[in-house]
């Protein structure tokens, strides 16, 4: 595969150092078909081997290669350069709202810790010795669970969210989407635990419905729908508790 007309892209990469980082410009050959991850890999292989970035599957399944591309969070392995190019320029930076480890690699711990904090984990109803619950795929509640189940944990929605940027304790769209998915799963117990976990001061009621999560989700999932669902269910719980009191 040859470079088209010896054209070169002007790629600005955000590098890290002790003083908060700097921008470094690289000239990268342009190809008819290349992804942003290809560009980053080219820089690391042919220009500067010290450039640090993260990837694994290259086919949009593992969720490890997300970066800010021209200011927008993207999964770089499935983002064609031609779709995001600004003239012949590309600006690549580490994901927003997460601490930088080095160059384009961010520390994902806060992101995953919030999944646990939102009770976005399985609460079993049975043991391994019991028969498996039969699931009706036509059940509307199952539909809600299925709608969010393809999340690949890439943190694009978390980086897109201005509410996370304003309140670092906010659980964020991905954790709340997972909580809503688990909440709607028939095989999951502890529904009230989930509602309690997501309705605190850092929970779903922080969401301003800006919709950046749903706009940028590379898998076309809709965390905003999930958060609205959690808001509805937590509001119902308040009325239910009042009635029971």
């Amino acid at each position: 595969m040859g470079s088209t007309d010896n054209m070169r892209l002007e790629v600005t990469v955000r590098r890290s150092d002790a003083d908060g980082g700097y921008d470094q410009i690289f000239k990268v050959p342009a190809y008819a078909h290349q992804t942003v991850l290809d560009v980053v890999s080219w820089i690391q292989q042919y220009s500067d081997p010290t450039l640090t970035y993260r990837f694994a599957c290259r086919v949009g399944m593992c969720g490890s290669c997300a970066m800010m591309v021209n200011g927008a969070p993207r999964w770089t392995c499935r983002t064609h350069v031609n779709k995001v190019l600004n003239g012949d320029r590309l600006h690549i930076a580490p994901l927003r709202n997460l601490p930088v480890v080095k160059d384009l690699v961010v520390d994902m711990d806060p992101f995953f810790d919030k999944w646990i904090a939102a009770e976005g984990l399985h609460h079993p109803t049975r043991t391994r010795h019991d028969p498996i619950v039969s699931i009706d795929p036509e059940n509307p509640q199952r539909g809600e669970a299925n709608a969010g189940i393809e999340c690949i944990n890439c943190s694009v929605c978390y980086a897109a969210c201005d509410t996370v940027a304003g309140n670092s304790d906010y659980l964020g769209p991905a954790a709340l989407l997972r909580a809503w998915t688990v909440f709607n799963d028939e095989k999951n117990a502890g529904k009230q635990d989930i509602l309690d976990a997501v309705s605190g001061s850092s929970g779903c009621h922080n969401c301003h419905s800006m919709g950046s999560c749903s706009h940028f989700c590379p898998n076309a999932l809709n965390p905003m729908t999930a958060i609205a669902g959690l808001k509805r269910e937590t509001a119902k719980t308040i009325f239910r508790r009042r009635k029971d009191a």
Partner: protein
Amino acid sequence: MIRPSRSHPLWLAFVLHRLSGLALALFLPAHFWLLSLALTQPQRLDHMLSFAESPVVKIAEFGLVFLLSVHIFGGLRLLALEFLPWSNRQKSLAAGAIGISLLLSGLFLLRAI
């Protein structure tokens, strides 16, 4: 120039809702102060009311009606989003709120001039 990651309809609807709310909050004290003149300084109120007949004020009132309307309908959209069954047409609903507001404020302006 780096394209901002916020140029999508629902984010703009969020900003419009915030800014219209802020502008209305700033307007209300001035409005109540003007109404209070009816009790304290009726002549001054009459003077202000005749000033309110000028075209510049009418255009400003057009803006005010638009802000009020877009805040009401935008707020109704958010209430529906949070308390009614989910609808995927959020962008259309946000655009509809702006459309209705332009219609109402436009009608107001046509009647005023």
